[in-house]
C-alpha cells in the first residue's frame, strides 16, 4: 500500500515538467506556430533557474528566471519565424541546438554545485492522512500549480474571448487578419507565453526534480513534450493525462525492476513511450476530432496583405 502511494507521488512529480512544457507548446501550436526549439529553451531555462536558485536560495526566483530565459529565447525564435518568415522547422531545430550549446557554455561553473538545503513540502493537515497524504499532498507547490495551469488554459482557450482569437489566428490567420486582429503580435505573444512555460518546466527539472546542473540535463524531455502535444490532439487535459501516464509508466517500470520482475530492462525502458503513444492514439482515434483540434495553419508562415 505504501509502495503504491509512493509510486503515485513519484508519478505526479515526474509528469509535472512534461505537463507544463506540453501546455506551453500547445498554446504555441494553437496559434499556428510549431516550436521545435523546446529542448533548447528548457535547457537554457534550467541553467538560468539553477543559477538563480543558487545565488538567491529561492525557488520562486528560480522559476521567474527560468520563465524569463525561456520567454526571451522564444521571443527571438518568434521574431525570426513570424516577421522574417524563416522556416519554422529549421529555426526550431537551430534554437534547440543553440540552447544545448549555450546552456553548456554558461553552465560550466555550476556543474557539481549544490543548492541550499531543501525543506520537504507538505500540505498542512492533508499530508497526514494515511495513503492519500504521502501520495498526493507532499509535493512541491509547482506540482499543484501545473494542474491549475492546465485548468486555466482550458478556460482560456475554450471559454474566453482572447482564447477564441488565439485559436482563430491558428486556424485561419487570413480571416483573423481581415477582422482586424494583429496576427503577428498575437502569435508572438503565444510563442513567448509558451517559451515561459517551457522555461518553468526546465527550471523545475534543475531546481526541484534533479536538483543539479549538468550539461544536457533535460535529456530529451522537450521532445517528449512536443510529441505529447500532438498525441493529445491539442487538448490541455489530455496533455496532463499523457504526462502523468508517461511519468507513471516510467516509475512503474523501475518499481517492477526493483521488485525483481523478470522482464528485460530494454523492453521496460521502451514501455513509457509505447504506452503513451498507444493510449493517446486510442483515446484520440476519431479523425474528425483530430481535424477539428489540429490548428489548420500549424507550421505555416503568414504574410499580411499577401
Amino acid at each position: 500500500m505504501d509502495q503504491l502511494a509512493l509510486l503515485i507521488a513519484a508519478t505526479l512529480a515526474s509528469g509535472t515538467p512534461l505537463a507544463i512544457a506540453g501546455l506551453g507548446l500547445l498554446i504555441n501550436e494553437k496559434a499556428g506556430v510549431l516550436n521545435l526549439g523546446a529542448e533548447g529553451i528548457m535547457l537554457v531555462a534550467a541553467i538560468a533557474g539553477f543559477a538563480a536558485a543558487f545565488s538567491t536560495g529561492s525557488d520562486t526566483m528560480a522559476f521567474i528566471a527560468g520563465a524569463g530565459a525561456g520567454a526571451l529565447l522564444a521571443a527571438a525564435f518568434g521574431v525570426l519565424v513570424i516577421w522574417l518568415n524563416t522556416n519554422q522547422y529549421a529555426t526550431g531545430l537551430a534554437v534547440s541546438l543553440f540552447g544545448y550549446g549555450f546552456s553548456a557554455f554558461v553552465g560550466v561553473s555550476y556543474v557539481g554545485q549544490k543548492l541550499s538545503e531543501r525543506t520537504p513540502f507538505e500540505v498542512p493537515g492533508l499530508a497526514q492522512i494515511p495513503f492519500i497524504g504521502p501520495a498526493l499532498f507532499r509535493h512541491h507547490p509547482m506540482v499543484y500549480i501545473a494542474v491549475l495551469l492546465i485548468l486555466a488554459a482550458m478556460w482560456f482557450l475554450y471559454r474566453s474571448r482572447a482564447g477564441l482569437v488565439l485559436r482563430a489566428v491558428g486556424e485561419s490567420p487570413e480571416s483573423a487578419h481581415a477582422l482586424g486582429y494583429k496576427v503577428r503580435w498575437i502569435r508572438l505573444l503565444a510563442v513567448v507565453a509558451g517559451g515561459a512555460l517551457c522555461g518553468v518546466a526546465g527550471a523545475f527539472l534543475s531546481v526541484v526534480y534533479a536538483p543539479l546542473w549538468v550539461e544536457g540535463l533535460v535529456a530529451g524531455r522537450g521532445w517528449i513534450a512536443l510529441a505529447l502535444t500532438t498525441f493529445a490532439t491539442w487538448r490541455p487535459l489530455r496533455v496532463l493525462f499523457g504526462a502523468y501516464l508517461f511519468g507513471g509508466v516510467t516509475m512503474a517500470q523501475f518499481a517492477l525492476q526493483g521488485a525483481g520482475v523478470e522482464i528485460s530492462s530494454q523492453v521496460l525502458a521502451m514501455l513509457p513511450y509505447l504506452a503513451t503513444v498507444v493510449v493517446l492514439a486510442i483515446i484520440s482515434r476519431n479523425p474528425t476530432w483530430i481535424r477539428i483540434n489540429m490548428p489548420a495553419s500549424l507550421g505555416k508562415p503568414f504574410h499580411p496583405g499577401a
Binding site: Y100, Y209, A219, G258
Partner: protein, 384 residues
Amino acid sequence: MNPMSRRTLMGVTAAAAVAAMVGCGKKEEPAPQAAAPAPASAPAPAPAPEPLKAAWVYLGPVGDGGWTFAHDQGRKAVEAEFGDKVKTTFVEKVPESADAERVIRDLAAQGNKIIFTTSFGYMEPTLKVAAEFPDVKFEHATGYKMAPNMRVYDTRFYQDAYLSGMIAGAMTKSNTLGFVGSFPIPEVLRNINAFTLGAQSVNPKVKTKVVWISTWFDPPKEAEAAQSLINAGADVLIQNTDSSAVLQTADKNGKFAFGWDSDMSEVAPKAHLASNMVYWGPYYKKAVKDVMDGTWKSERSVWGYKEGANGVIKINDAVPEEIKKKVAEVKEGYKAGTMDPFKGPIVDNTGKERLPKDEMPTQEWKDKVDFYVKGVEGKVPTGK
C-alpha cells in the same frame, strides 16, 4: 530570387552554423611549466629536444565531473610529470561515430606520437586509423581489440565497488541496497556483484536491488530510478552512471549513497558515504614514458589499487571505525595481490557455482561476467 526560398535557406544555414558551433571544440594546452622557451621557438639553435606530442580524445566535456573529468586529470598528471618534454592536446565531446575517426586521424596527422581514445565506442575508429599510421602509438580505454601499434587499458573499478559494498553493508538498516545500472555489460555486472559481495562480507543478510536505466547519463532519470529503489525499501544506493543525481536523491530522502568517478563529497555531505575514484594518471605517465624510452609494446593493461589506479576516498565519519579498518585491510590485500573480490567460491543467484572455492579468477573469467551473484535480486536482462 524568391524571398521565401532565400529565407528558408538562411534558416537552414543558421541551423548548420549553430550545429557546427556546438560540435566539438578543440583546445590545445601547452605544458604548464614556464621554464622552457615556448614551443614555437623550439627550432631555434637551442639543442632542446622536440617535445613528445600526446593527444586525448574525450567523449564528454572535461567539465562533466565524471568520466571525462577523470581522464583529463590523468592528462594533467602527465603534464606535471614531464613538463616541457611533452605537449598535450585534447579534443572533447567527440561522438562515438564517424566523427571520431576524423578526429583521431587529424590528431595523428598533426604529429602526435601517442593518442589516447578514452571511450569504448572509439574501438573501431581507433583500429582503422592505427592501420594508417604505423609509427603512431594508439591507446584505447576499456576495449579489447589490439594491433601492433594499438593497445588497450582499463582499471579495476570493481575493487572500489567491493569496498563501497562493505561500507554499505555496515550502514544499511533495511538490509536492502539499491544499484542504479546503465547497461547490463560485464563491466557493470562486475561492479554490482563486487558491491554485493563486499556488503555480504560484513552483513550476510544484505540483498541488492538493481534498476537499469539504459543510459550513462540522464540525471532526472537517474533520480527517478533512485527514488524507485528507495520506495522499494533500499536505504543505501550506488550508481554506475555519470551524474550525482542518485546521491542527491538519497540525500533528499535521508538515505545514503556514494560518489562515482569523481569526488562527490561536497554535493551531499550527510548522505555521501565515500567516493569511488579512478585515477588514469599513473597509466598515462607510464604509457608516455614507454614511448619516450622506446619500450612501448602492444599489450593489455588492467590496473587497480596495486598500480594506484583506483581508490575509495572521503569515507563518511558516520561509518564505524572497525569497518574503516577492514576497508583499509582489503586495500592492503589488493596492493599485495592476495585479495580479489571474486575469489572463489562465487555462486550466482540461481545457486550455480561459477568459481570453485579458493580459486582466483582469471582476467578472462572477469571479462565474461554475465550473471548476478547470490543476494542480487532478479535476472540479468538479456534482451530476449
